[in-house]
Symmetry: none
Subunit: 290 residues, 2 copies
């Protein structure tokens, strides 16, 4: 195998997705396109004593009660897993390609002059959201509804959650009120709506899943993935995609910020990540903001 390009990798998960060419000596096929996935394996408790006795240890650093070492375990105790996709098509390559992200700093003026015009030019369809609100689709998935047109919402499971265990509970509250695009559209006049979603969402989850508010992370995304106001409810211990500080805003903080400053989200600078292929990033680049 000859690697030609790293498609993506994760320092946290210790894996790497690599594009390259494979020569198979058995089949005489040469230079076949392939994707190779390399991944370190979890540490196994049963091997610990052999690991500590049979490895080379080098001191790196010592400070007070803390010290760090580099350990070189014998190969049979420290395998990697290799997955090969061969022949790989263009589709496989794209699937494993990481898109880099960039943090954007959006002032209130940037929102008006760059983000809002971009969102409006894209005219993302919200028909699927309206279908849910009008019970034309996914009606059987709705877990709770407050039908009030101003402060009401529907609560339903996110597609990422299979509803089989609460460990990765993930629900979405979609508000009935139309026209609030995102966090940027919120002012103190929306406090009754936000408080209602917060309160009744937590109550419903307590009744249905026996999870108290202290086990929940309740937040909005900015940028959201669609521009109709919705709120995420996830299990606190579950590291849901998009719950990082760079994209998530706790609903409790949002309510509080609007209480002390009615125009907090209309006036403050907001930070958010955008993927390299996002058209909005191009707009920020063109405006010389990145």
């Amino acid at each position: 195998f000859k690697s030609s390009k790293v498609l993506s990798d994760s320092a946290r998960e210790k894996n790497m997705f690599i594009q390259g060419k494979v020569n198979d000596i058995n089949t005489q096929l040469v230079d076949q396109d392939a994707v190779v996935i390399l991944e370190k394996t979890p540490i196994i408790e049963d091997t610990l004593s052999e690991l500590f006795s049979g490895s080379r240890l080098t001191l790196d650093m010592k400070n007070d009660i803390y010290s760090t070492y580099r350990l070189q375990p014998p190969p049979h105790l420290n395998e990697m897993k290799v997955t090969v996709v061969c022949p790989a098509t263009e589709k496989h390559v794209k699937k494993y390609q990481r898109q880099e992200s960039y943090l954007v700093e959006e002032t209130a003026e940037d929102y008006r002059s760059i983000t809002l015009p971009y969102i409006e030019s894209q005219s993302f369809s919200l028909q699927w959201v309206y279908n849910i609100l009008e019970k034309k689709a996914e009606a059987d998935r709705i877990i709770y509804e407050d039908p009030d047109p101003d402060v009401g919402f529907v609560l339903l499971p996110d597609f990422k959650w299979n509803q089989k265990q609460v460990d990765d509970l993930y629900l979405i509250a979609i508000v009935h009120q139309k026209g609030i695009k995102s966090l940027r559209g919120l002012t103190s006049e929306h406090l009754p709506l936000l408080k209602n979603v917060f309160q009744k969402g937590k109550e419903t989850i307590m009744q249905k899943y026996k999870l108290p508010a202290s086990k929940l992370r309740v937040y909005l995304h900015y940028q959201p993935s669609y521009y109709h106001l919705h709120v995420h409810f996830t299990m606190l211990g579950y590291e849901a995609p998009g719950c990082g500080v760079e994209r998530a805003h706790l609903l409790g903080d949002v309510i509080q910020n609007l209480q002390s400053n009615p125009d907090y989200y209309k006036s403050h600078t907001l930070y958010f990540p955008l993927r390299a292929d996002d058209g909005l990033l191009t707009k920020f680049r063109e405006a010389g903001k990145i």
Copy 2:
């Protein structure tokens, strides 16, 4: 080192936290309590060709275009990182034990009546922090220093980062000013300090690692793991532990909040997760706040 118990582990992150006893042949100290953290290291692109040519490969499974193998790399290409805490106290053991978390809602009054008295009663030692600031330890690890006593800081790699690849870059800025316990201690008078850390931290990372500000997540933890003000700089794409919205506060937001409200962090309610065995959680429970 003799391991006695696995405190926690992560198959996803390939790490393991182990309690055990250490015998030190240099100091003749025997059977000292220790916590050892084992972690596999990220895969390094530069080593790939040597990895593929110099490892033993065993076929596991083949199905259509997919196949999996076990790879046994030479030890020098597949190190583990070992962090030793020794002697370890009961507190260290607890810190690394897997625990459920609960979200706490801390009003300004709760901070004064519950959190602050608890922190003060614990008298956590900050000696290791002062050792760093005074160059009595880890002096060779310091990447940048602004020695100013009011707005200065030292910047050094977090223990979690092995500095071999920027994918999981993790640096900590520790301020020279003593006595600022956490986010709760910040007012607008600290804006020059915070702006200095933000600005010079970003400049240093750009110079040394060629990463622009748009690739960085810069934030504080609340609660922090030690009560001397410090700021986290991590690579945006790296899902560093503790970068979730429930614990992290973007430095950019903190500066902005203090600019518009000098007492923002003295007056607002803050949310944070606490582990089941945290003494502070017990205090909140006793006060009927959870």
